[in-house]
Each structure stands twice: as C-alpha cells, then as structure tokens.
C-alpha cells in the first residue's frame, strides 16, 4: 500500500511540475511584460529598473528556478490591469467554478446511474434505445451548442430560467436556494451533459457485463426478486469501473467549465481566463490555468487512491 501511495504521489507531483513548467514557458513566450506595466512614455532607465526588480535581466535558467520558488509561495505576479496579486483574483473565482462543477456532477450522477441501470435491465426496450440515443447525442454535441440551445428554448422562449450569471446569496442559507438553483440549473445541465452520457453508457455496459456471471444466475435461481438481484448482487459488483469513470469525469468537468462559464457569463475562473486573454492580462490567465490544472491533478489523485482502496488488485499492478 505504501508503495502504491508513493507512486501515485510521485505521479501527481510530476504532473504539477510539468504544468508549472508549461506556464513558465508560455509566460516567457508572451514577451516582455514591462512595456505593458508602465506608461508608454516611460524612460528606458525606468524600464530597466522595473526589469531588474522583476528579475527579468537574469538568464533563463535562473529565472526558472526563481519562478518555481515563487509558485511554491503562491506568487504568480501582479495582474496588469487590477494591480493585485493575480493568484488572489483567480482564487476569488474558484468557489463559483466549484459550485458549477459540483452541481453538474451531482446532476449527472443522479440522472445517469438509474438511466444506465434501467437501460441494462430492460435491454433493447424502447427506453433503452431512447436513453442510449440521448447519451450518444450528449457525447457528440459540443458543450457550447447544448448551452446555447438550452438558453434559446428554456431561457428565452419559455422564460423558465435566467440565461446568465450566478444567483445571489449563499448555499448555507436555505431561503437563498430557489434563486441559486434557478441560476445554476442550465449551466449545470450544459456542463454535466457529457459526463451524464458517459456515465450512463458505462453503467449500462458494466451492469450487462456482470449480468452474465454465474452468481447472478444463482441469485435468480434461488428466487430473489429482480430488484434485489439488480441492486444487491449486480450493481455492487459493477461499481468499480463506474466509480472510476465518475472520478475522471469530475476532472473533465473542471476543464469544460471554461466553455460553459463563457456561454452563461458564470463568474468563475474560466470566464476570468477568457476575459483576461482579450485584455492581455497574462498573469491572470496563467494563474487561472495553473489553479484549474492543480485542482484537476488533485481530483485525479484522489480518484486513484479511491480506486486502489476499492479494488486491492490494482495496488500491485
């Protein structure tokens, strides 16, 4: 178990190091930030002073080491327009993104698990075919198209949901829930559609796989009702691949949030990144990318651990 843990921790650390390195390279490729930070008529001597202050006059390997140290201290430079530490501005947006991703995830799981289970139980029925067709569409349609169609039909034409922004208030206060749920519903369906489709398809195939096993036939033969055969004997054994893909999908949701937030003007970290690209505020873009990537790595690391705990065989693989 210890060896398994060390290997996973190492992998996560290497991934993080890779991300930091990529951020460093893109930072350097983005050119000299000094002219962007000073007024256009600043004298050369002033520019050189700022450059020395930021350490930009040193050789690249030295800059790289300094940069690694700064990242470890959570320092990614200041926002060019907001005059605040970029990482703080990005961190501020993280709760909104997590709110969206978690709601999308819960929605996806709550719909997909029963849908996949029923599809498998009633294989080749109308329900199965319909659910699997919807799942195929959910996997093929681009996220932003799903979002825009939901805005068009449920938001603008039927007027059931607001089409942009986040609800006011806090999840801790139940009287705010209607407004918050109302705002988060469409973005969450949009973001969760792909995960929902994948989980439903995998649940169906995992359950069908277990259905062929001898112990299922035994359970049926001893006269158990279909419900308890499916839930107690089948679903429990099909759970491992399903949980794995659920974990992987949660990570993917964090990446997809960038697009969904743009469609719904959801004030999360993805919208911040896209807006900062157009205002050429690179430190913010880099902080956002780094934060989301880190969250992704951490989530996948936890999924790996959970997987090892559920299925002892893979600890020794």
């Amino acid at each position: 178990m210890l060896q398994f843990l060390t290997r996973r921790v190492l992998r996560a650390l290497i991934a993080l190091w890779g991300i930091v390195t990529i951020v460093f390279i893109t930072m350097r490729l983005s050119g000299d930030p000094v002219p962007l930070m000073l007024p256009p008529d600043a004298p050369i001597s002033e520019m050189n002073r700022v450059r020395a202050e930021l350490g930009l006059d040193k050789p690249l390997p030295v800059q790289y080491v300094v940069f690694l140290g700064n990242v470890l201290h959570g320092d990614l430079g200041r926002s060019i327009h907001m005059r605040q530490p970029a990482i703080d501005l990005a961190l501020e947006r993280l709760p909104a993104t997590f709110e969206l991703a978690i709601t999308a995830f819960v929605l996806a799981v709550v719909v997909a698990l029963p849908a996949g289970l029923i599809s498998a139980a009633k294989r080749n029925s109308i329900w199965d075919n319909l659910a699997m067709l919807l799942a195929l569409i959910g996997q093929s349609a681009p996220t932003f198209y799903i979002g825009i169609m939901l805005i068009l039909v449920l938001g603008l034409q039927l007027g059931w949901f607001p089409v942009s922004g986040r609800g006011q208030g806090s999840w801790l206060n139940p009287s705010d829930w209607p407004d918050m749920l109302n705002h988060v519903f469409l973005p969450a369906v949009t973001l969760g559609a792909f995960a929902m489709a994948s989980i439903a398809r995998l649940t169906r195939s995992a359950v069908l796989e277990v259905m062929r096993q001898d112990y299922i036939r035994t359970a049926r033969a001893k006269g158990l009702d279909e419900m308890s055969v499916m839930l107690r004997h089948n679903f429990k054994n099909a759970a491992i691949p399903i949980i794995t893909i659920m974990g992987l999908q949660f990570g993917t949701l964090l990446g997809g949030a960038v697009v969904t937030e743009t469609v719904f003007s959801w004030p999360g970290i993805g919208l911040l990144a896209i807006k900062s690209i157009s205002s050429r505020d690179y430190p913010i873009v880099q902080s956002s990318v780094l934060l989301v990537a880190m969250a992704f790595v951490v989530v996948n690391f936890l999924v790996d651990l959970a997987y090892g705990w559920l299925d002892p065989r893979i600890r020794y693989a």
Partner: protein, 308 residues
C-alpha cells in the same frame, strides 16, 4: 539486406486476412443506422469539396439590405436565402457549406498529425524500452494530467490566434497534438507483445534492422487499431476546433467556421435564433455520424479497444 528476408512472411501475412474477412462479412450486413451515418458524412464531404459549386452565394458576400432575414419558410424569409442571413446579410447556408471545408480540413489534418506522432512515439516507446520509453510515457502522462483545452488556451493567449484569411497553422498544430497520447499508449502496448513474437525474432536473426522490423513488420499490425482510434478522434478534434473558434481563439472572422458562426450569432439569440442553431446542427450531425460510424468500425475491426 539479403533476398531471403523478403521470402519470410511479413507481419501482416502471419495473420492473414483476419480483419479483412471480418470486414467483408460485415459489409453485407451493415446496420441501417451506419448507412445513415455514412450518407451524412458523404454529404458533408461532398459539400466541402464542391463548396464553390454547391453554395448559393459567396460566404463573405455582405448584403446590408438583407440583414438578419429568417429562414425561407418563415413569414419574413427572403427567397434565395434558404437558412436566412446573419447580422451583415451573409447567406447562412453558404457559410455552413464553406464552414464544412474549414472544420473537416482542420479535423483531418489534425488527426493525421496526431496519429502519425502518436504511432511513431508509441512504437519507439514499446520497441526500445528504457529511457526512451520512460520519457515518452512521462510526456503522455503529463499531457493527460490536465485538461487540454487549458493548454490550448494558454498557448493561443500567448502566440495570438492565426491571422484571418490565411491557413490557420497554429490552430491545426494545436488541435493535432491534442490527442497523440491515446495512439502512443495503444501502439506501445501492441508493440510490447509483438516484439517477442517469432516473426520478429526471425527477422532479427536474419539481420533485419530495427527500422525494417518496426516499419515493415510491426507497423502493419498496428494499423487497424490506429484507424479505429483516428476515426473516433476526428469527432473530438472537430469539437475542439469549433470550441476554440467559438471562444474566438480559433478560426478568425470573416472566414466561415461553424464554431465561429455560433460564437458571433450568440449575441442575436433573442431575435435571430437561426444564426447559431444551424451551424451547431452541422457540427452535431457531423460528430454524431462520425462517432456512431466509428463505434461500428471499432466493433468490426478491433473490439479490444472498447471502453466507456
């Protein structure tokens, strides 16, 4: 090179026509839905290739008198503009047809880049284990470790999007390198098992070089999984390209691209729904046809690739 080597059965001949026979068997009983997918794709490809002949108008031709006209079957529709016009009076149908050219080309070239890169790296990793293998697999793990769209966004943020009215090379390369890891992993796995097989040992005993073993004897055995992966990957790449174009980071206006049309049409959603609905349908039909067709192809050619 001695002549005897060419007498030896090559890798592809060692398992003769296994997939070929399967394919022939399945061609006779292709399910109707797969025919439907094939027909959809054929229409898309023909539209893309013959765009100048098929499209009713020039896709960049603006007619300001005819701005935001609805599709022809609605009350205010303008004859000759079947799917309506956009905010500067360009014909939506013509832009979708030319958009097919853009999306399919970028997708296909991207798949070509990704599959060749991934296959070669995967073969090298599997064949020469040790540091080469570990470096390549470390790179693959790193790229898999975080969402590619973030990498794409940060690269484009720094380099700037491709200029309008030019071949979008940056976009093509970014889309192309997005998926090499899958090919590399699969190919590495296949090579690991193949390189211990008798036919490889015999070629080596007869003095065949590594190059010859890899490209003449191992490569033919890898091609069928690679073709399957490439088909499924094409749908992903088309979505990636349209997403980047939607965000304003991909194909730049006024070049027509499906994602870009959606991105610009979004602002008119409450008054002119046709601006974003039809280009999105084009993306969805294309990717749906490719994925469904690809699923079928996978089940026929290489069921072992099935997952999720």
């Amino acid at each position: 090179m001695s002549d005897t080597i060419s007498v030896l059965p090559t890798a592809s001949a060692s398992e003769p026509r296994r997939s070929g026979a399967n394919l022939g068997y399945h061609v006779r009983r292709i399910p109707p839905v797969v025919w439907l997918c094939a027909a959809t794709l054929l229409i898309m490809v023909l539209a893309a290739v013959f765009a100048p002949l098929v499209a009713p108008r020039d896709p960049t031709d603006q007619t300001l008198m005819l701005r935001l006209k609805p599709p022809i079957w609605l009350a205010d529709g303008e004859p000759g503009y079947i799917l309506g016009t956009d905010e500067v009076g360009r014909d939506i149908l013509s832009r979708i047809i030319y958009g097919a050219q853009v999306s399919l080309t970028i997708g296909l070239v991207g798949v070509l880049i990704g599959s060749i890169l991934g296959t070669v790296l995967g073969m090298l990793a599997g064949y020469f284990s040790g540091p080469i293998d570990e470096t390549i697999m470390l790179l693959a793990d790193m790229q898999l470790a975080f969402p590619f769209i973030l990498l794409a966004i940060s690269i484009i943020a720094v380099l700037g999007p491709d200029p309008a009215n030019a071949v979008p090379w940056k976009l093509i390369v970014i889309v192309g390198i997005s998926g090499w890891m899958t090919y590399a992993r699969v190919c590495r796995g296949v090579v690991l098992t193949l390189k211990e097989r008798e036919f490889v040992h015999s070629v080596r005993a007869l003095g065949g070089s590594d190059n010859r073993i890899l490209f003449r004897h191992i490569l033919p055995n890898i091609l069928s999984p690679v073709v399957v992966l490439a088909t499924l990957d094409l749908a992903r790449l088309i979505i990636l390209e349209s997403t980047l174009s939607f965000l304003g980071l991909g194909v730049q206006p006024p070049s027509p691209s499906w994602g870009g049309m959606l991105g610009q049409g979004r602002q008119y959603l409450d008054t002119a729904w046709w601006l974003s609905t039809f280009p999105g349908m084009a993306i969805m039909l294309t990717t749906l046809a490719i994925s469904r067709g690809g699923d079928w192809l996978r089940d026929v050619l290489d069921p072992t690739l099935r997952s999720g």
